[in-house]
């Protein structure tokens, strides 16, 4: 066992804050880092101390490995927590951290290298006898055509080092294959510094099901109930829920055990997630990839299990054994949790990022409502980074109540003038198919007509017009008041002299 006293959080936004909050609960010091563009960002205020690490461009700040390690040493940290994105799944960085005598709060670097490469991780899953989706590597263009033809279009091109849909392209026709491979390679290079891409069969009635797991250094493992993350736009999740309305408890257990088996085969420890594609029609699951990090949607699992996953990551990094058994964990699981990602994007304009200052900001509150946010009033949504403003998580006794709670909480989440996907999310939580749990990864495109550009008749037109006129009147009044107040000091002065 070893004791961690001070952790550098090599990230920004909501995840940096979320990690720092747990560090405080554990009595561990939190060191923040920030780029030039982030010097007024919210995450710094949660750190005990914060260091400037470079220019706005991520490559020169949040991806600047040497600089971050220098800061960690200078600030006397004994560990680095990477959050998600940026350097979280960079095995070279993980190794550098350890070579510099610091503790990496994450899985072992050689295991990260093996799993980070998606082609390699498929081989690991196959070794554990877990089915993988049909597909393969791209040796040259002819072979790629041959493989794609064999699988049948549409096919997916994915970045081997990828995640979050970056470097991923769906191809419907062989004439687009060459160009799509080219773009995917470029995106992969830009996002992960590795241009390798591969081909996978595209499953039509696909569900994205994933298993959160924990493994300590002594081979003790825990798997949590599955999260369903099938509501996606541009291959990026926007809604996650647990448990899934798609699979039964028996399948959930089977997939959970498969996840632990894969992670153990890979020599993993720390928190992680195994992603699966579930083919509802065939009732079959396929291994997709391992996310060797804390994930964006981890709060969903925390809410239904009552555990603090970041605290357990720290425990495992301190070489403590997991204290509860799978049976004990199973008894703790209760209720239903859902997460909505609040992106600063205009859903009615092809998800165009909406950058700029958040002038008006009000978060929902209440029992079973959690907001993990990286912003407050006056914060700026910056062009340099992911436009995730916050994650809204609700927990309720059952799925129906959770959906209604989410709808109410989204209605109470007020952000302006930056545009967000809140209107889209509200439409989803009112959509019959979603409410019935009848949705797959193509939900948004299938029901686009119900979800986008929906202008409903308002119940509050009179009230809105009254408010508009009231504010106009008040502004005029304020100007009059300001003028009369500007005369005030003279009277005060004269009064003083008279006294």
């Amino acid at each position: 066992m070893r004791k961690i006293k001070k952790v550098l959080v090599a990230n920004r936004g909501e995840i940096a804050i979320r990690i720092m909050k747990t560090l405080k609960l554990l009595g561990i010091g939190a060191v923040g880092v920030y780029s030039e563009a982030d010097k007024l960002s919210k995450h710094i205020s949660y750190a005990d101390e914060a260091y400037h690490i470079g220019e706005p461009e991520a490559l020169k700040s949040y991806l600047n490995m040497e600089r971050i390690i220098d800061v960690a040493k200078k600030a006397n940290c004994d560990a680095i927590h990477p959050g998600y994105g940026f350097l979280a799944e960079n095995h070279i960085f993980a190794k550098m951290v350890e070579d510099n005598g610091l503790i990496w709060v994450g899985p072992p670097h050689d295991c990260m290298r093996n799993l980070g490469d998606k082609i390699n991780s498929r081989i690991i899953a196959q070794k554990a006898n877990i089915p993988t989706t049909p597909g393969g590597t791209i040796e040259d263009l002819d072979k790629a055509h041959e493989l794609a033809d064999k699988l049948g279009y549409p096919i997916l091109i994915k970045a081997s080092a990828g995640g979050g849909g970056k470097g991923m392209r769906i191809v419907h026709d062989s004439k687009d294959l060459e160009e799509s491979i080219k773009i995917a390679r470029k995106e992969a290079q830009a996002a992960f510094s590795d241009p390798t891409v591969y081909i996978e069969k595209y499953i039509e009635d696909a569900h994205h099901i994933e298993i959160q797991f924990l493994l300590d250094k002594f081979g003790n493992g825990l798997y949590f109930p599955e999260r369903e993350c099938s509501v996606q736009r541009r291959y990026q999740k926007i809604i996650e829920e647990s448990p899934s309305p798609t699979i039964d408890r028996h399948t959930a257990q089977e997939i959970g055990q498969a996840a632990i088996l894969i992670a153990k085969t890979a020599g993993y420890y720390s928190a992680g997630t195994v992603e699966f594609i579930y083919d509802k029609k065939e009732k079959k699951y396929y291994f997709l990839e391992v996310n060797a990090r804390i994930q964006v949607e981890h709060p969903v699992t925390e809410e239904i299990s009552g555990v603090d996953l970041v605290a357990l990551q720290i425990d495992i990094a301190e070489e403590k054994p997991l204290e509860i058994s799978q049976n004990e964990l199973n008894l703790r699981i209760n209720g239903h949790a859902i997460e909505s990602r609040i992106y600063a994007e205009d859903p009615d304009n092809n998800f165009m990022p909406s950058i700029g200052k958040i002038e008006h900001y009000r978060e929902p509150t209440g029992n079973g409502i959690r907001v993990d946010s990286g912003f407050f009033k006056g914060s700026e949504v910056l062009i340099h980074y992911d436009p995730l403003i916050a994650k809204l998580i609700v927990k309720a006794p059952n799925r129906t109540m959770a959906i209604r709670k989410m709808y109410a909480a989204l209605s109470d989440y007020h952000i302006a003038p930056v545009k967000t996907i809140i209107p889209l999310l509200k439409n989803i939580f009112q959509h019959e198919k979603f409410v019935n749990g009848d949705y797959n990864t193509r939900f948004i495109e299938t029901y686009a007509a119900d979800l986008f550009n929906t202008k409903k008749d308002s119940k509050y037109v009179s009230e809105a017009i009254v408010m508009f006129n009231y504010l106009k009147h008040k502004k005029h009044q304020a100007e009059v008041d300001e003028y009369s107040q500007s005369l005030q000091p003279y009277w005060d002065t004269i009064g003083y002299w008279r006294g």
Partner: protein, 163 residues
């Protein structure tokens, strides 16, 4: 009759006020509200109907964003439609569809391009977007350079259709 745009629809109404009391006639229906301010939030009290409504409000120049019940509303003065001119132009220019950074410019001024050719690669939030020509023609002017940061709807490239 006065006019305002509510959620993009033009609404005609009549209004009169006395101190914090507003009487509005909309669709031949008359209602009186008393307005009380609490910070950014307001309480509208409709005495005849025994109804209270809390509104959260943000005012941005001539626009007002309001949140009432489960709705978000946008009220603004009537806008003139200036989009017609832009539609005509969109054939032979390329504008940035979103803010981003120019990663690649595939042609130079004077180059011949075909409809569907990718002219510019724009990176926004780590995703590469290909901006394509919608006509056959010759690149007349390129207004940006590689690594330039552009805002939304900024003019990037002009293409001469050569009619």
């Amino acid at each position: 009759m006065e006019k305002l745009q509510v959620n993009g629809n033009i609404v005609e109404y009549e209004i009169s006020s006395k101190e914090n009391e507003f009487t509005i006639t909309l669709n031949a229906e008359k209602n009186t509200y008393s307005v009380f301010a609490y910070g950014d939030e307001y309480l509208l009290f409709n005495a005849e109907e025994n109804k209270f409504q809390v509104l959260d409000v943000y005012r941005d120049k001539n626009k007002v964003f309001l949140w009432a019940g489960d709705e978000e509303l946008l009220v603004e003065e009537e806008q003139e439609d200036i989009s017609a001119e832009n539609v005509e132009l969109s054939e032979n220019i390329i504008k940035s569809p979103m803010p981003g950074i120019i990663k690649e410019i595939k042609f130079e001024e004077g180059d011949m391009v075909k409809k569907g050719n990718t002219i510019i690669v724009l990176e926004s939030m780590k995703v590469l977007n290909e901006l394509k020509s919608s006509i056959d023609g010759v690149i007349k002017k390129i207004h940006v350079s590689v690594n330039a940061q552009v805002g939304p709807l900024e003019l990037l490239v002009e293409i001469d259709g050569g009619e």
